[in-house]
Subunit: 142 residues, 4 copies
């Protein structure tokens, strides 16, 4: 399977549809069925103690799977998250960016499943693991 | 089991430890092992089309379980989320507040499990369902 | 919404399609969007110490949601489980039957979501909680 | 981190504590924080159409994480599953063995998290993905 949308176009699309998070996420690598997304640390992501909040990590995984799906099926589609499971395994490093490695395990006609591993930059052990299922609308409905 | 912290004190504690979300959540009801929390709609929670974003619903469930746990065990503890599963079942009503009904199904020595059902105000069918597990640190470490 | 299949017919259908588990599950109550299913304790469900195994509880939740869905949409459909999240919260009582209370939170055109709470008979606190998503095939494909 | 228990000893231990499933699972590879387990196809695992049932795949993931944990912490411990999330992504190949590749993402003092990918032998695309959390009892209580 091949990419339908390249990295620059995908980044532009993200900025257009989610203007409020345009500075939160940077696409570092994009390949068929895979993406790596960086979340630069900002004050609004933090909890007391300087670590990144759970909802911010959820958002990082969610956006990563969304972009991996769009890169494969094209931007006409309006995919929506239908479920997520996430394990928070370690405290993120204070002040370090988070990097999310996402792989699509399934890209079906109706459902897509993405698997994410999130690291603090410079720490090998993962901070969180997440699986996201997206529902893909029928053609022409998006 | 009885509440260790009442509603007013819990609200004050939330505003103190999470100043950046102090206006996002309102405790509507509090009882042993149960809480109802409202998230007033604000621009920052929205996605294109006017619906509330997935990360905002995750945050609502997460804060609800956290407060339900603290109300039972007291504020000395520094409970952390270890896992979450969430199902997004319907599009929230544009412009309507979200209300989260949370019940603690387990409050053990080490782990607490909370179950949440989220509604758009004025719509009966639930928008999302979430389960959250919190890890409770040993006394004196919090 | 109304039931399309009553309790006796549903039980007969289960015995027909899953002959190997026909004695494992008893439908105790059936109503629109709700079902209660009992799993009589048998040697094959047990782990050392006499408690019911995790896979047996998974099977109980899975079958309960499946039957709740079939009762609503009719037996022509070949629904399949697409995801499950389950929390094991307490050790089941040795020698006691398990009872699963299941509610359908969503019954859409493509996906159904069921929520289950499992108890050991005679113990109030729940043993496990499970959410199951089923994919419903388009009409005529089942 | 190093293995405390080797493959042969681990297989013997499994047969001893779970005699009823001793023929269901074969340890193919064992390394620190990793295990590969095969489930030979047998009549009792099947659903109509010849595919492996959901509960059987749950059991395969559950046993894999359990053995990966025991291999690291030693057999004195009585670890128990506290939660699982599983995505069923494709129909298993009829008549083919299932192979589970499991990696421990966390092995803490209190909780362990394992991530599993399940394939039908001879098919590259994964059949299921599962995450399992185990609770590890304090020393001396196991």
């Amino acid at each position: 399977m091949e990419l339908r949308i390249g990295r620059a176009e995908l980044a532009g699309y993200l900025a257009e549809v989610f203007p409020q998070v345009r500075d939160d996420f940077v696409i570092e690598e994009l390949a068929p069925m895979r993406i790596r997304v960086r979340m630069p640390v900002a004050e609004r992501h933090l909890r007391p103690g300087g670590t990144v909040s759970g909802p911010s990590m959820f958002a990082l995984a969610d956006v990563s799977v969304y972009m991996a799906v769009l890169a494969m099926i094209g931007r006409e589609a309006l995919a929506v998250t239908t479920s997520c499971s996430i394990d928070f395994m370690r405290k993120p490093v204070a002040g370090a960016d988070l990097v999310c490695d996402c792989r699509l395990l399934k890209l079906g006609r109706v459902l897509a499943v993405g698997d994410c591993l999130i690291h603090s930059e410079g720490m090998e052990a993962p901070v969180a693991r997440a699986s996201m299922t997206y529902s893909i609308p029928p053609k022409g409905q998006g």
